[in-house]
């Protein structure tokens, strides 16, 4: 128990914040606070006492072996059905995130870039995005964009991601290559301008060029008012999206947190290294 507390991300972040931003009140800056979260799928507990705090302006990388619960974390945050929260809390901008429907979370500024983006035959990409953006704006009490305003915004974002216009006229993700699907996720993120974006293994299946484009898309959006949780297997993406914090997720909870150098250590020694250290620690 003590071991887990010693490596709790809350602690590291508080230390970090106290070093960098002396004056601002801590709570004001907190965007997402996950406390002692337990989540199950079909009766099997996947997240076991996970805690993580993310402040506005930060980029957090969550790394971990297969089956550690990384995607579950993303899905729970986005509100996918089929996940049972058995204990713990998640607050987003001071609200109980778990009370909100997926569409309410989106309007509140949450975005999940899917590990496996879904193909939706028959629904035009442009129409889909405009419907999504305007639904969010409507829910926030903002004016909806007309097609001219919308297309202007689309063109700007397309250019950043080097995506072809043609993608807009196709059905959502239908017939897209793996790389196009992932870039389309980042394009959607750019267009929807979320406050908190969770990227679920956006790097998987990407070649170096596509990964750079994705990273450029993310870096262009880095902002003191916006936060990212980058879920990944490999350290490589983090060469391009440089994180403020790296967390290791294993067996359903964060077992170690650190700065970006932690990612290199993981790359060098593998996840087994964490397990060994943990064993050593408990012993």
């Amino acid at each position: 128990m003590n071991e887990r507390c010693a490596t709790s991300p809350c602690v590291t972040q508080r230390q970090h914040k106290s070093l960098t931003s002396g004056t601002a009140s801590l709570d004001e800056n907190i965007m997402l606070k996950i406390e002692n979260l337990h989540a199950s799928v079909a009766g099997k507990e996947i997240l076991k006492d996970l805690s993580l705090t993310v402040n506005a302006g930060e980029v957090h990388a969550v790394m971990g072996p297969n089956g550690a619960g990384k995607s579950t974390l993303g899905n729970v945050l986005a509100g996918r059905e089929g996940y049972e929260i058995t204990a713990g809390t998640v607050s987003y901008e001071g609200k109980n995130l778990l009370d909100l429907d997926p569409e309410e979370r989106a309007a509140a500024g949450m975005f999940l870039a899917f590990q496996y983006p879904v193909e939706i035959p028959g629904v035009n990409n442009t129409y889909f995005l405009r419907t999504a953006l305007n639904a969010q704006r409507k829910r926030r009490g903002e004016e909806e964009l007309d097609s001219v305003q919308f297309l202007k915004r689309v063109r700007e974002k397309l250019a950043v991601l080097h995506l072809k216009d043609e993608l807009l006229h196709r059905a959502v993700n239908e017939g897209f290559s793996g790389g196009e699907k992932k870039r389309n996720e980042i394009f959607q993120m750019a267009l929807l301008e979320p406050k908190l974006a969770v990227l679920d293994e956006t790097d998987s299946g990407l070649d170096i060029d596509a990964m750079k484009l994705v990273a450029d898309g993310v870096n262009a959006m880095r902002d003191p008012s916006r936060a990212f949780i980058v879920i990944t297997h490999y350290q490589r993406l983090l060469d391009y999206i440089v994180p403020d914090f790296v967390h290791v997720l294993a067996e359903g909870r964060i077992v170690q947190s650190g700065d970006k150098s932690l990612a290199y250590k993981l790359e060098e020694h593998g996840y087994a290294w964490i397990a060994e250290r943990k064993l050593a620690g408990t012993a």
């Binding site: 059905e81 429907d101 569409e103 899917f114 939706i120 028959g122 639904a135």
Partner: protein
């Protein structure tokens, strides 16, 4: 004899027309008297029970049809604004119609053809329906309903679509009306025909037989829009003969009605004749809609491509029977049939039955039917982007249906049909 048939045939006047027609009516009446309406033992009517209908007492025709008020808005259809032929409770209403100018397209009331040139419609009117399954076609012959004869001269392309509207208008009594549509396209002629059923606030029985003859190299684009009154009963039979190198493209949209049966009996009679059939049925409440396709390849290198989508909600029931027969000698035929359905409620029902019978040697044929629900992954994906659940469901359902409508090459009409469809689709699912 059922109550329905007995009442309708009682003292029914015979047609004012040639002796052969009167004789055909006598024969049809005697056949109906013997066999009555089909029951569940007749395979083609296995899923559509007529017991309730057979006990109804309906007035024969509507004597007041010529003076019934019809809201002109009901007749309008975007993208189809030129010629319009309107029937109200089965009676042709010249005052509401706009006949095309004389030219390659000729549109003449059946009564006039019977008076002037009866022999030219002898073949379709004498078409024999022996089987119990065709009771309504026999009833159509037995009663002297109205009708329209549409002809396109050889080598002529009619530029504007022809709009045929059947309006069910509210009356003091529930009634039964019948109408016949005869369409003949000469060699290399082409026409777009819209068959449109609308109505409000009535529980009539409509009975329409359409007979299409498509000459060599001709092309008929037929768009059938059934958006009838909620409580109405509508029985239609669309039969076609497609000659060499000719094409029939049918889009069928079934939205309204309480009890609806539509038989499509299509014969690919000439070499390289082509049929495409696209259909959507979107049902709710306690609607029962039965679409029965019987497609026969009689000649070489004929093709049929059938794609139907069904959305069934609440306690509605959809029936789809898609049968393709490739007759001996129809080598080189290519047949494709697909029917996919969305069941949106636990009480909804779909009976889908693709049937393929092949008597020829060298053919390509594929068929399939599926029944499913909306894709949860797609639904969550859309919601995660901010689209409210009800809207996401509607969008996905619409996309599912659009696959069968996108080939309509009249954008204004396609938009109008999309709106009609959206109005029928559920938007407030749990």
């Amino acid at each position: 004899m059922s109550v329905l048939i007995a009442n309708l045939l009682d003292d029914a006047p015979f047609a004012t027309g040639p002796d052969w027609l009167v004789q055909a009516q006598r024969d049809a009446r005697s056949n109906l008297g013997e066999s009555g309406l089909p029951d569940a033992r007749v395979e083609a009517w296995k899923y559509t029970n007529l017991r309730q209908l057979s006990q109804r007492v309906l007035r024969r025709g509507d004597a007041d049809a010529p003076s019934r008020d019809v809201d002109s808005k009901l007749l309008e259809l975007p993208g189809v604004e030129h010629s319009r032929i309107v029937f109200v409770n089965g009676a042709l209403r010249r005052d509401l119609s706009c006949f095309p100018l004389a030219g390659a397209l000729s549109v003449v009331p059946l009564a006039s053809v019977l008076a002037d040139d009866a022999d030219s419609v002898k073949k379709p009117l004498l078409r024999e329906y022996a089987e119990a399954e065709s009771a309504f076609a026999q009833l159509n012959t037995a009663l002297s309903g109205s009708g329209i004869v549409i002809r396109v001269a050889a080598n002529s392309t009619v530029p504007e679509p022809l709009h045929l509207v059947f309006v069910g208008a509210s009356a003091e009594h529930d009634l039964a009306w019948s109408a016949r549509v005869i369409v003949e396209l000469g060699t290399a002629a082409s026409l777009q025909l819209i068959e449109h059923h609308v109505g409000i606030d009535h529980a009539h029985l409509g009975n329409v037989v359409s007979q299409l003859v498509i000459g060599d190299n001709a092309q008929l684009d037929l768009i059938q829009i059934q958006n009838g009154a909620e409580a109405s009963t509508l029985i239609r039979r669309t039969e076609a003969s497609i000659a060499s190198n000719a094409a029939l493209n049918i889009h069928t949209l079934e939205l309204g009605g309480q009890l609806v049966r539509h038989d499509l009996a299509i014969n690919l009679d000439g070499n390289a004749a082509r049929l495409t059939s696209r259909g959507v049925f979107a049902l709710r409440g306690r609607q029962h809609v039965d679409s029965h396709l019987d497609i026969r390849h009689h000649a070489r290198d004929t093709t049929c491509d059938v794609l139907w989508r069904g959305v069934i909600d609440e306690r509605a029931r959809g029936v789809f029977h898609g049968a393709i027969t490739i007759e001996r000698g129809a080598d080189g035929s290519d047949a494709m049939l697909s029917n996919k359905n969305l069941l949106l409620s636990a009480q909804a029902e779909i009976d889908t039955q693709p049937v393929l019978v092949i008597h020829a040697d060298e053919v390509k044929a594929a068929h399939g039917a599926t029944v499913g629900q909306l894709d949860d992954h797609a639904l969550f994906y859309m919601r995660s982007r901010g689209i409210p659940e009800a809207e996401a469901r509607a969008l996905l359902t619409m996309a599912f249906c659009r696959a069968a409508l996108d080939s309509i090459n009249n954008p204004a009409l396609l938009d109008a049909l999309t709106v009609m469809l959206i109005e029928r689709l559920p938007v407030t699912q749990p």
